[in-house]
Amino acid sequence: MNNLSAIKASLASCHFCCQLSKSENLPAKQYSACPRCGGTLHFRKPNSISRTWALILAASILYIPANILPVMRVTWKGGSDSDTILSGIMGLMEEGMWLIALIIFVASILIPMLKIISLIFLLISVQIKSSWCPKDRTMLYRVVEGVGRWSMIDIYVISIMVALVQLGAVATVEPELGAVFFASVVVITMFASISFDPRLIWDSFEESNR
């Protein structure tokens, strides 16, 4: 009983209601319905590794236009300026708004980058069947899963400013294409972390400790 994983006992845990079901006849890649809630039941998330890789790849490509293209155009006092995420942060620093600059830097630049790097690291470590520090890697996954949503802040700031500053020639804020790329990076990396199955970390750990 000690240190036995559910899959070794032919038990599949329902993602929705946590009910364990005996699934002896269930080949690893197929799924059936949970007897309690009717949700699809599988031992591991289907095609977890290839699906996560595909999403990470897409996010990494979109990350480039998201940072190069301007996300917003501000018209104010007769002048008109387009800001990328980075130039927006620099502007905030010049005006002495350090706290806001820090929030946007962490949420818009640091988190998406660390998220992509962490998931690539987790994917590779699972694929080479590493048995290195599974507990720490699980912790890393939980952090990635938890903080990813916070990258949405910049999108909301743009949305709020666009709604609020619509005063023609006096002051106008308009969204620009970079914001669409940035939003897609956030959404795709969220799907990537959802499609990664942290139990794979422990599968290779168990295999190598047998």
Partner: protein
Amino acid sequence: MTESLIACDYCDLLQKIPSLEPNQTAKCARCGSILYRSKKDSLNRTLSFTLAGLIFFILANSFPLISLDIQGRTQTSRLITGCVDLYRHGMLSLAALVFATSILMPFLKFIGTAYIFMPLKFSRLTWKTKPIFKILKTIHPWGMIEIYLLGIFVAYVKLSDMATINIGIAAYAFIASILFMVAADASWDPYETWNKLEKNHE
């Protein structure tokens, strides 16, 4: 045998469901993730927090959120205004994303939770409770009103040297609805809910 066992969501370790005092948390013996939290008076608290949150969320959507004064001109904005204006600028996908994560998903979460818990409270059978439970679990990470609130704060500071910003009553209702949503999440005991659901359906 399977009734008394639980598998960790993060490492798949099979372990006994611990018997906990109310408001205690059990962690996985192998990876340290949260395995199970027992909640005091879960049903009543989750239901009341959800209903309160729903009322405040409706209020937050019904009144002006923020207004801005520049050179004698005033512009008022509601929660939905951002989505409408993004759409007007031709950014349909962005508008849809902001609408889904800041209005639709939180609203579905409040409604869905209330729909499950109301009949449970009165021990009635309900229609399609289980699919709704699954939908709630799926949309959970996509409701982002607490992040939106930080967005309001950032926009407020950014605009404050350009114009005078006034916080409307909807903003306070919005904060209240976030606090109630967090409280409802924290007092929800999914095990108790499933036990009750199963009992009702027998």
